[in-house]
């Protein structure tokens, strides 16, 4: 394998890692606040549909992004309503919302556009186009680093850079701010937060809404940047791989970056059977195998937030 091929694989690693990273961070916010969210998949899917449809109708990728975020927020609110307000089972709520997303996107797409459950193909300003970072072409001449900068670091849509920026931002908010302290506390021991005079429900809703925003960006990325329009089930299990990455990352922001890059790399080499002679199904299974290994305690211990999955009820 020559250097150019490696750069190609790394470039597509980044492309494929971005939705995983956004979804993984989305899951991180929610789960750190004690709300398990198996519905990342569904939120991304409705966001992908809404952004694809609105971007086509308005011709603006930015309008599509807002619509995607809006749709994912509606799903996040429903999840919050079910699991925080009404103290329902978080897994069941998540699964139900996934099914709803899976059906409703295709139904509305078919009714509105009559293209077999897809949204019409996007072009021009209706898509997020690739940005060339400053000096990318000039730097190309520098050996090794130059092409890496020009081909792998540069040349992605703005959402990619937003996703990477979300990592230090998430870290900073979680560990350096009052909001982050309370949010982590609510995922570990909500009673401690409640007795300190802070509303558990409000903290958890904030977290779930942030999850919605990030899933919305992830979905918009799929429909208006990675692809040119929405297609049925276009999330293709990314929400579940993101959850696996979250465990692999041990619920930490920087870990999420490395885990999703690794999983994105697996997906990237699965696209190049000519280069890597590993059967594609084996590569697709790798993220899950690795996650099982982490859960089994082979790669350090992954301790989930202690109050995760449990609705908060005041004790008597």
């Amino acid at each position: 394998m020559d250097y150019a091929t490696l750069l190609q694989i790394l470039d597509s690693t980044v492309r494929l890692a971005v939705p995983l990273l956004l979804a993984c961070l989305a899951g991180l916010w929610s789960e750190r606040a004690g709300v398990f969210d198996i519905g990342l998949e569904g939120k991304m899917l409705v966001a992908a549909f809404a952004s694809g449809a609105v971007a086509f109708l308005t011709g603006s990728a930015w309008a599509g992004l807002l619509a995607g975020i809006g749709a994912a927020l509606v799903w996040a609110l429903l999840h919050g309503l079910a699991s925080i307000t009404f103290r329902g089972n978080q897994l069941i709520s998540g699964v139900a919302l996934n099914f709803l997303a899976s059906g409703i996107t295709v139904l509305v797409a078919q009714t509105a556009f009559q293209q077999g459950g897809r949204t019409p193909s996007l072009s021009g300003e209706a898509r997020f186009n690739e940005l060339t970072l400053p000096l990318a072409e000039t730097a190309r001449g520098v050996p090794v680093i130059g092409p890496l900068y020009a081909d792998v670091i540069s040349g992605h849509p703005i959402l990619t850079y937003l996703a990477v920026l979300a990592v230090p931002l998430t870290w900073w908010v979680l560990y350096r701010t009052r909001f982050g302290l309370r949010l982590r506390a609510v995922g570990e021991n909500p009673a401690a937060v409640d007795t300190a005079g802070v509303s558990v429900a409000r903290m958890r809703f904030s977290a779930v809404l942030i999850t919605g925003v990030l899933c919305g960006i992830a979905g918009a990325y799929l429909a208006t940047a990675l692809q040119a329009g929405f297609g049925r089930e276009m999330t293709a299990g990314r929400g579940y791989i993101a959850l696996a990455a979250l465990i692999f990352a041990k619920w930490r922001p920087w870990g999420a970056l490395w885990a999703t890059l690794l999983f994105g790399f697996f997906q990237a080499i699965a696209l190049r059977p000519d280069v890597v002679p590993i059967p594609v199904p084996a590569l697709e299974a790798l993220p899950y195998v690795l996650t099982v290994l982490v859960l089994a305690g082979f790669v350090g211990k992954a301790i989930p937030p202690r109050a995760g999955g449990e609705p908060y009820v005041k004790e008597r």
Binding site: R176, A185, A192, V193, G197
Partner: protein, 511 residues
């Protein structure tokens, strides 16, 4: 009528009532707590003490009544208002975030702004001052999960003081402490009082009330039945007020006459998740004696009980009436019961019964395959219900309704049903854990009598309890467990609380 703020009580409650569904937890409660005093609130489980304090802390809202702080009417709709009014609460189950540091726990909810750094450095200075002033030393950077419960409790007190609480409420604070830790806590509380703070202490332990409070209020069935000056009362009087009739505080029993050896345990070891929970426990138990295991919860007592009851595996040797028991998991709880071991589990709700099931079904558990409960392949429900009704009568279970789900009985009556189930099968060895946890004084008296009667019939009894008073008064011999080992065994008649307390803290005399 105006009162000058200096003489106004720190807290005054007027006509507080609170119902949970059909249960009236607090009925028209009025109370005054003098400033700069330690005020005890005593009552049995379910008397409404914790509910009342939760109302004061804004955790629940009262249905009616008013709260006055320093003579001013102060509505407390939520915990934030309570904190603003200068009220701090140390809950029975600590409200700490286990993987946060002490400092992070202290500032949680009382941060000074959006960013943590300034809050943390301010709290660090403030904590140093509070530690100095009140003898509350604790490492601000330690993680809660690495601290002993005694220190965790200090963090809770520091949390309240950091929020400038003038009134500190402590709910059953000594339940998880060794006697030495409890003494230290009392010193801290006296220090707080002497600096002008007001302390409200909720407990069901008469000894603590007598030792530390200035005034004591007694609650019974949701009502405040009396408020008296501690100096002018006695434990017997308080117990009578709590229960509503005269009660026997000491267990009435004759000296033991131990017979043949029933149980021999040698070098018992249990490892759980890589942590050794039992580190070579050996003990001997004879017919006609009660061996009490004292110790702070979590020092291996539960593991010992579970191994003997056949629900956990271990290495080492256990002989029951001369026969080696299989500890590798080839024998289960049912095999043990058939071998003559009765087991009243420590955690009644977790291992002792199924709360949603009827009393008669709970009476069958563990014995459901016995012939007298069976008719061919089926359960003989009529026989079971008749037997349950008979047990209920003999053990004075109220209400005597075999079909009622066990969750509808009070803690004391639940425990009576379970004790009846285990005792009436005539075991050679009875394992009984926390026999009176969550049980009212009247039922405690009854259950203690049953245990002593069983001993007098020549049975061997292994008692595990975190209530040192109970172990001392009920046992013939007391073994103290600390960190998975038996630190020593003492004759219950001649030992004292200080000696056992040192052993409970892992201190052995080096004489």
């Amino acid at each position: 009528m105006l009162q000058s703020p200096n003489t106004a009580p720190a807290i005054e409650l007027r006509g507080i009532s609170k119902a949970f569904g059909p249960v009236q937890a607090n009925k028209d409660i009025s109370i005054r707590v003098a400033k700069g005093s330690i005020h005890g609130i005593i009552g049995e489980n379910g008397a409404g003490k914790s509910t009342l304090m939760s109302i004061l802390y804004g955790f629940y809202r009262a249905d009616s009544g008013e709260i006055l702080v320093d003579g001013r009417e102060t509505p407390i709709p939520d915990s934030q208002s309570a904190i603003r009014a200068g009220i701090g609460m140390v809950f029975q189950h600590f409200k700490l975030v286990q993987n946060f540091t002490v400092l992070e726990n202290v500032i949680l909810g009382a941060e000074d702004g959006g960013l943590l750094r300034p809050s943390l450095s301010k709290a660090r200075k403030e904590l140093a001052r509070l530690s100095r002033d009140y003898g509350l030393e604790v490492n601000p950077d330690a993680r809660i999960e690495d601290l002993s419960v005694g220190y965790q409790q200090r963090v809770e007190i520091l949390k309240a003081l950091y929020r400038q609480a003038d009134i500190l409420i402590l709910d059953e604070p000594t339940g998880v402490l060794t006697p030495a830790e409890a003494d230290h806590l009392f010193r801290i509380l006296r220090g707080l009082r002497d600096q002008g703070k007001t302390v409200i202490l909720i407990t069901h332990k008469l000894r603590e009330i007598m030792e530390i409070t200035d005034t004591v209020s007694v609650m019974r069935r949701g009502e405040m039945v009396a408020t008296v000056t501690t100096r002018d009362t006695s434990p017997a009087e308080l117990a009578e007020l709590m229960v509503g009739r005269k009660v026997l505080l000491r267990v009435d029993k004759t000296p033991a006459t131990p017979g043949e050896v029933v149980l021999e345990v040698e070098d018992l070891r249990v490892t759980h998740n890589g942590v050794e929970r039992l580190k070579g426990v050996s003990l001997t138990l004879r017919r006609g004696e009660i061996l009490g295991i004292a110790g702070v919860a979590g020092n291996g007592q539960s593991e010992l009980m579970e191994v003997l009851a056949g629900i956990a595996t271990a290495t080492g040797q256990v002989r029951l009436l001369g026969r080696d028991l299989n500890l590798a998991g080839h024998e289960d709880g049912r095999d043990r019961r058939r071998a003559g071991v009765g087991h009243v589990p420590e955690d009644r709700h977790h291992l002792g019964c199924i709360m949603d099931f009827a009393a008669w079904e709970n009476v069958a558990f563990g014995y459901h395959r016995e012939d007298d409960y069976r008719r061919g392949p089926f359960t003989d429900q009529a026989a079971l219900k008749a037997d349950t009704a008979a047990k209920m009568q003999r053990f004075d279970v109220r209400p005597p309704l075999p079909d009622l789900a066990i969750k509808h009985f009070s803690g004391g009556n639940q425990q009576k049903i379970i004790v009846a189930r285990e005792i009436e099968r005539n075991p050679d060895l009875l394992l009984i854990g926390q026999p009176t946890r969550g049980v009212d004084i009247g039922a405690i008296e009854f259950i203690h009598k049953q245990i002593v009667a069983l001993r007098d019939q020549g049975k061997a009894i292994l008692l595990v309890s975190v209530e040192l008073d109970e172990v001392m008064s009920l046992s013939d011999r007391v073994a103290v467990m600390f960190d998975g080992r038996i630190m020593g065994t003492r004759d219950a008649a001649t030992t004292n609380e200080r000696e056992l307390g040192l052993l409970m803290a892992g201190v052995t005399e080096t004489a």
